[in-house]
């Protein structure tokens, strides 16, 4: 499969011509540059990270560029993410980042999955068994995302205080699920709306119950939509900062919050360390996006290329 896709891509290069392909590569590089700088910084010593002009070339290439532009790569930042060593020689201390990474993955993964399950079923209902005033309901669902987070946070904090959800996994997962639901419902409804009703009628005539129609006929047709919705939800949840800052406790802290708390300390902002955390933080999202990319491409273009 992958191989076939790669071959097709090669053909597309032929069609677009090298000129356009290179132009596209240059533009992509400009977009990617900030991320690239972060990844490079993650491999720098503290002094290199502060240097102006920025040192962007590993010293393996010092025969190519002047010395003041090169740095010697180190992995010490990555070690420091998880255990903090002291110049005084005291025993290294656990930073707790392994827990924070687990929290981020667990909370984002669980809430996106939950939103996907609930949202898909709800979307199918809205699409196939419309209520009186269906559009009003859909609109109301969306209004929950119309206010800036900073406005919503106060009532949410009060609710969490009263219910005792503050600082718990359940609390933050429910909150993120609720955040992802409107988007999931709207996305999935548009995918269900696109499907041919005749196909479902045919399945009914062929002796299928409504449930079997949903699982066997409808779901396989919206896999691309599921993938796209999941990735968007995942990115939003993964990067969420404000609610995580105020509603997670020491045990349930996510990476964005923990990351912000490494800023400061005896030697100012430790850019190398920060960049290393960010680099690690990027990996899960990149992996997910990479594995879903075939589905994703079909999903984000909605119905435009289907059929």
């Amino acid at each position: 499969m992958r191989w076939v896709a790669a071959k097709n891509r090669a053909k597309e290069v032929d069609r677009a011509g090298w000129g356009r392909t290179i132009a596209a590569a240059v533009v992509s590089l400009i977009y990617f540059f900030p991320v690239l700088v972060i990844i490079i910084t993650a491999f720098k010593k503290h002094t290199d990270a502060l240097a102006v002009p920025a040192k962007l070339i590993p010293d393996a290439f010092d025969w190519l560029v002047p010395d003041y532009l090169t740095f010697s790569p180190t992995t010490e930042n990555f070690v420091n993410v998880f255990s903090r060593s002291f110049s005084t020689g005291a025993a290294a201390q656990d930073t707790g980042f392994d827990l924070f990474f687990f929290n981020s993955i667990f909370i984002a993964g669980f809430s996106v999955l939950l939103a996907l399950v609930i949202g898909t079923i709800a979307a199918f209902g809205f699409s196939r068994y419309p209520l009186k005033g269906n559009d009003t309901y859909l609109f109301v669902i969306l209004t929950t995302r119309m206010l800036p987070a900073i406005v919503v946070i106060i009532p949410v904090m009060l609710m969490f205080r009263v219910t005792g959800l503050a600082g718990t996994y359940t609390g933050i997962i429910l909150l993120y699920t609720a955040f992802n639901l409107p988007f999931t419902i709207w996305m999935m409804k548009s995918f269900f709306d696109e499907l041919s009703r005749d196909v479902e009628d045919a399945a009914r005539i062929d002796g299928s119950s409504d449930r079997r129609v949903f699982f066997k006929i409808c779901m396989p047709q919206v896999v691309a939509g599921l993938a796209a919705t999941a990735v968007f939800g995942l990115i939003l949840t993964w990067n969420e900062f404000l609610f995580a800052l105020l509603l997670t406790g020491v045990e349930t802290r996510t990476v964005p919050v923990a990351m912000s708390q490494t800023i400061g300390g005896d030697i100012g902002v430790r850019w190398g360390l920060l960049a290393a955390i960010e680099t690690l933080f990027l990996i899960p999202v990149i992996l997910v996006t990479f594995f879903l990319q075939n589905q994703l491409l079909r999903g984000v273009t909605f119905g435009t290329v289907k059929r």
């Binding site: 005749d198 196909v199 005539i205 062929d206 002796g207 299928s208 066997k216 006929i217």
Partner: protein, 362 residues
């Protein structure tokens, strides 16, 4: 139990709009009935009610002797071929064919045998592993038919099964479907707006207009004895000529009318003598004229305008003195030029008479 389909006074309203009105229809086991009519006349709605995809607003639907109004599509056990085939896009051809067998709890080997059987009949053996998006239109059509005949349903329903195929494919599929259906003694309803399809495939044709049934009859009956002007002009190509004339008198089998001021005599069915003198409409098929050499008695004089060669025959569009259009089909050997005056004598045995309300007098 003998399987038959019966509709009794079936009506379907969508809000204020009545899509199907008081339809009575009986389809016997092994019989093929075509629903024919212009777009929007309620053919699909009727079919969907039989399948259980729509609930009738009034009236009863019976399979055999039992009323099925309240049964779901899965309980009715019908097979239907949709206008756009409605194959399951995410499943392979083979999985499409096995899908209806799910409810029958067959062993795997039996299932495979059934699939192999229908795949053989409809020549699908080579494409069993492909997805619907990877096969040609004609193959999709065959898969849809195969999926319908793989079970043993109470009846077969086809919604314009051939409308998306090209002419050649349509002809061969028509034959194939007919052959397949002949082997199965089930009632079959085929919806179409292609009259050739109806005339060739049906045992009986039901002609609908605006939700009402206008006529039910064998292909021969609806062609030779249409009950009204609508059916007469709907069935048969080129379309039947309809001439408004003044009836002078009708005596036994002889009628005398005035067309454009010229008296015209011809033979009609005896029953036409019940018509009182006045405005009537004559229906004459384009092939039911004989060409006269000169303007004689009982011939209509027309001027030819457009000549359309149709292969074996030639279609001539002509006009009478009073500008009424007349279509006439002449043999290919007869060379007609535009602007030429023709003298047409209606074949007495093939002239239909409609009263001033458009109802046939036969």
């Amino acid at each position: 139990m003998k399987s038959t389909i019966e509709l009794r006074d079936v009506t379907k309203n969508f809000g204020q709009f009545t899509a199907v009105r008081d339809v009575d229809l009986f389809v016997d086991a092994g019989e093929v009935v075509c629903l024919l009519g212009p777009s929007g006349c309620g053919k699909t709605t009727t079919l969907r009610m039989i399948a259980g995809l729509e609930t009738p607003s009034a009236g009863d639907i019976l399979f055999g002797k039992s009323r099925v109004n309240n049964l779901t599509p899965e309980q009715r056990n019908v097979a239907m071929v949709f206008q756009f085939y409605a194959l399951y896009p995410a499943l392979s051809v083979e999985e499409n064919l096995t899908f209806p067998l799910f409810a029958e709890h067959l062993s795997k080997s039996k299932r495979q045998a059934r699939v192999a059987d229908v795949a053989e009949i409809l020549q699908l053996t080579d494409i069993l592993n492909r997805k619907p998006s990877e096969i040609a239109e004609g193959e999709k059509q065959r898969v849809a038919v195969a999926r319908a005949i793989i079970r043993e349903p109470n009846c077969f329903l086809f919604d314009e099964p051939l409308s998306r195929l090209d002419v050649e494919l349509r002809e061969s599929m028509r034959g194939q479907i007919k052959e397949v259906l002949q082997g199965l003694s089930k009632p079959t309803v085929i919806v179409t707006h292609d009259q050739l399809e109806a005339l060739t495939m049906a045992d009986r044709i039901t002609i609908m207009r605006d939700g009402l049934i206008e006529q039910i009859g064998t292909p021969h009956e609806v062609f030779t004895k249409p009950v009204n002007i609508f059916v007469a002009s709907f069935i048969g190509t080129p379309q039947m000529n309809l001439l408004g004339v003044e009836l002078i008198r009708c005596n036994g089998n002889d009628a005398e009318v005035v067309l454009d001021g010229n008296p015209l005599k011809f033979g009609v069915e005896a029953i036409a003598s019940e018509l009182s003198p006045g405005e009537i409409t004559l229906g004459i098929r384009p092939r039911a004229f004989s060409l006269q050499s000169e303007s004689g008695k009982d011939a209509i004089s027309v001027t030819s305008e457009i000549i359309e060669p149709m292969g074996a025959e030639t279609l001539v569009h002509a006009r009478t003195i009073s500008e009424t259009e007349i279509r006439v089909v002449v043999p290919r050997e007869k060379k007609v030029t535009s602007g030429e005056t023709l003298h047409l004598r209606p074949d007495p045995g093939q002239t239909l008479v409609f009263n001033k309300h458009g109802k046939a007098a036969w």
